[in-house]
Symmetry: C2
Subunit: 512 residues, 2 copies
């Protein structure tokens, strides 16, 4: 049986001591009941090894899908009920595609995985036990994270929370034969003041929905007669921080939305619209050849998108800049817009700041694995060998049967980027090894298949094994590649339908 009876009984006792709301009788009866599902998990195992996969991104989801179900019982643990096809997220955030076309549910008629919608909380390598915390009603569902969800709780509070085991976030244990850690990273805000609270991120589908709603409500607010000219300018001034592919593709998609749809829907307002991309680095799209990144920058220039490199964001807050407040008689209390403060330019009033720069180590890696595994000094990621096996904290050997991949892992001695491509290649490789049982005979190597980015107005850039392509042809290849890469036939049908429908009739601007 997978549940550690003693620990559960212990915490139950603590619970009745701490809370008078719990009836005192029947504790053991309840305990029996609460084990049923894990017993069912054990009963379902049928002699197969159990692989517990933590995370449902490019690494975890791909691995779970590729593993042979006749050989392994696969248990996915993730706070999200779906996998996000991240390359299409920017398209969904402006309505070029509908949100669900970028999603694959972990549970579906076809997949044969067991799934617990839960957070990984603690891990015990000796007893091969993962303690997980249910997350079905998690209020942050669908949003990417910037800080530990327990960040505001003191360590004492947190310990008490764990013992209390309240229904929201109840803990339970799952045993593994093999553990796969693939829970990704959080958004990095570099401690910049106000970013955590006020920026819009773009890593999960809930983020995309927030952006779509905000973008449209900026236009709708600007259309009100109660909105002053000065406020209008601020509301329709959009800042994107981060000149990587995500930031660039989002800017391009937003520019398409404004140029193709907003222009016709709000003809009087489109003159106020402005997009600026900020980056601390001296160039954007640094993973591309200079020729291609120049193409992108020139294309942006022609379309009127400003790229400001070597710029540093110091603060992001609600409300207008002080100077604008005074000049245009805007109330200090009016928080319709945001103010971004740049080291180089001072305060600027904006309608929205989309923040897509940098990754932060996952709090689970930071806290639950600290002192148990070797971690990369620079990124804080979990260090693995070339078989993706996790190294122990003293770097003397390996943690047996524990693997790490995706953005939370670093393959020792390499500098592979934290991309979907690396994550899914690792997942495919590991699944193949598990299925064949030949992991000792080979090593993972990354094969760079190239990079692509959409730059707007049906143009893209593409670089693969020495070939550089830019323009419409690259855009056609961009669309074809992602359509082909889409996981399900469902989405392979829906995506081109939405492309066609939105091209014919325009994007939907209903907001809810």
């Amino acid at each position: 049986m997978s549940l550690t009876r003693t620990s559960l009984l212990a915490s139950r006792t603590t619970r009745s001591l701490l809370s008078r709301r719990i009836p005192h009788h029947g504790t053991f009866k309840q305990l029996q009941r609460r084990c049923i599902s894990l017993q069912a998990l054990d009963a379902n195992q049928n002699g197969r090894e159990r692989v517990v996969v933590v995370g449902s991104g490019w690494a975890g989801y791909s691995l779970a899908r590729d593993l042979d179900h006749s050989k392994y019982q696969i248990v996915v643990v993730s706070p999200r009920s779906y996998f996000v096809f991240t390359p299409l997220l920017a398209s969904t955030s402006v309505g070029t595609l509908e949100f669900r076309t970028a999603l694959e549910p972990i549970r579906s008629r076809r997949t044969k995985v067991e799934f617990f919608q839960a957070w990984a909380d603690r891990v015990d390598f000796h007893s091969k036990t993962l303690t997980i915390e249910e997350a079905v009603e998690d209020p942050w569902q669908g949003r990417s994270l910037v800080s530990d969800r327990h960040a505001d709780a003191s360590p004492n509070q947190r310990a008490q929370e764990k013992q209390l085991e309240v229904k929201k976030g109840e803990l339970f244990d799952v045993k593994w034969d093999k553990l796969i850690i693939a829970l990704g990273c959080y958004n990095q805000t570099f401690g910049t003041q106000g970013v955590k609270e006020n920026a819009f991120f773009l890593k999960d589908v809930g983020d995309a929905r927030r952006i779509r709603n905000r973008l449209l409500s900026c236009f709708e607010t600007a259309a009100l007669p109660t909105t002053s000219e000065a406020m209008r300018k601020q509301l329709l001034n959009f800042a994107v921080v981060g000149g990587g592919p995500t930031g660039i593709e989002f800017s391009a998609e937003m520019h398409d939305l404004i140029g193709e749809d907003m222009k016709r829907i709000y003809p009087d307002l489109v003159k106020y619209a402005k997009i600026t991309v900020y980056d601390v680095a001296p160039t954007v799209l640094s993973m591309f050849d200079e020729k291609l990144s120049k193409f992108a920058m020139n294309h942006f220039k022609r379309e009127g998108i400003d790229i400001k490199t070597s710029h540093h964001v110091e603060e992001l807050r609600k409300g207008s800049p002080v100077a604008v407040q005074q000049e245009s008689n805007i109330s200090e209390a009016d928080d319709s817009c945001y103010t971004i403060k740049l080291k180089e330019e001072g305060e600027i009033g904006i309608g929205m700041c989309v923040w897509s720069t940098g990754l932060m180590v996952n709090p689970f890696v930071q806290k639950a694995l600290d002192g148990k595994v070797k971690r990369d000094e620079k990124t804080g990621g979990i260090m693995t060998n070339e078989r993706l096996q996790v190294k122990d904290s003293e770097d003397k050997g390996l943690v047996p049967n524990v693997y790490a991949l995706g953005d939370c892992a670093v393959l020792e001695g390499t500098a592979y980027p934290a991309t979907a491509q690396v994550a899914s290649q690792k997942a495919n490789w590991l699944a193949k090894r598990f299925n064949k049982g030949d992991i000792e005979r080979s090593k993972f190597t990354y094969k760079d298949l190239g990079v692509m980015a959409y730059v707007g107005n049906s143009n893209a850039i593409l670089q693969s094994s020495g070939t550089d392509i830019s323009g419409r042809v690259a855009w056609f290849l961009w669309r074809s590649a992602y359509l082909a890469k889409s996981v399900s036939w469902r989405n392979r049908i829906l995506i081109p339908v939405y492309w066609a429908v939105n091209w014919l009739f325009g994007r939907d601007v209903s907001r809810f």
Copy 2:
């Protein structure tokens, strides 16, 4: 110029007296700025009469679409940025269709209406002025309403709010030549304790999204090992209150979801699932012939959906029934499920209660129009003559140039039902009269085109001009009729694509 300068100046003055946050200089400058958009509205009028349409449902949206733009300047005022095609809402609430296929944005490339996303707040029939309150950032966006959004504010507070004119909910005035009141009704809870707070309604797209998420999270919570057998039974026990077409169609769609998808995705859980429809009346679907309503009831019986007529809901609250708490050792504090209390059966633990019974008079009609127009004694609706012209409060004549239609209006001497069919027929008739300028020469009469309802498992019932059809053929006609009725070509393409995709691959169960 449309803005009443004096009133605005007056309230501005009050504002600076009340709030020290507002800088004292530049009030007039700001005033000028704030008028720009209304000046633009005036400039755009080009000698046309201005028709202000309050509401964007079946009545308001249809009218605005049908009016001749060369003759009238049409201004739509609604807190929603879209029209909801209500017959498909039940399908979207379980994922048979995607939410946006039941929506039409008020603004689109094609429509030529002016739009303010705002609430109607006050009306002055003498000066022909409507005071409206902006609602772009309304937190209840997409949800249907059960009580006045200012219900918790005292009249004094409310008066102060109006004077303060805070940015969130700023007021402004629009003048009309013709005013159309078509702002519909709220949900009626008959004062039943806890319904307002705990029930799930189904009148708007946000409601549909809440239901879809809740339905799926009930299954996901039930799948957790920490969930007891007793809780599982409660979570998957669904109550629908109201045996009208909406309640019946929703039950049927939910039954399809469970029988077609949940059965495969949660094979161990489907045995717990149960749907019960409650109604105070002795029969359901009373608008249908006895033969058809019997067909529906027998069909439901075969499918295992209970219909309990002559049942009275007394309370709806969070948590399990007391008896279940004691018997199964469930904590009083555990609010994973709800308890519905029936006069006839006592307390029952349920996962969700969908409430679709009865309409409540709109607070705008109740408050802003009280004493200004004649109102129906029974429903509280606005009384109109057979030309949809609003009667004055003393029943001596008409309020000039003011019309009312949709669920908020009652045509004197008739008992037309509060349906989409009546609303859209009135809208079409009124638009035609306005376009031809011949309203004095004709009268509106309602032509009952019949009723349809989907009853699940590809069966429907249909009754039209003496013909009764039930079963698959009726279902085919049901789908064809609503597809044909869909407003935009966009949705006419997307709807059959979703029907096909979901039939082939199953409904999407991603939750965000």
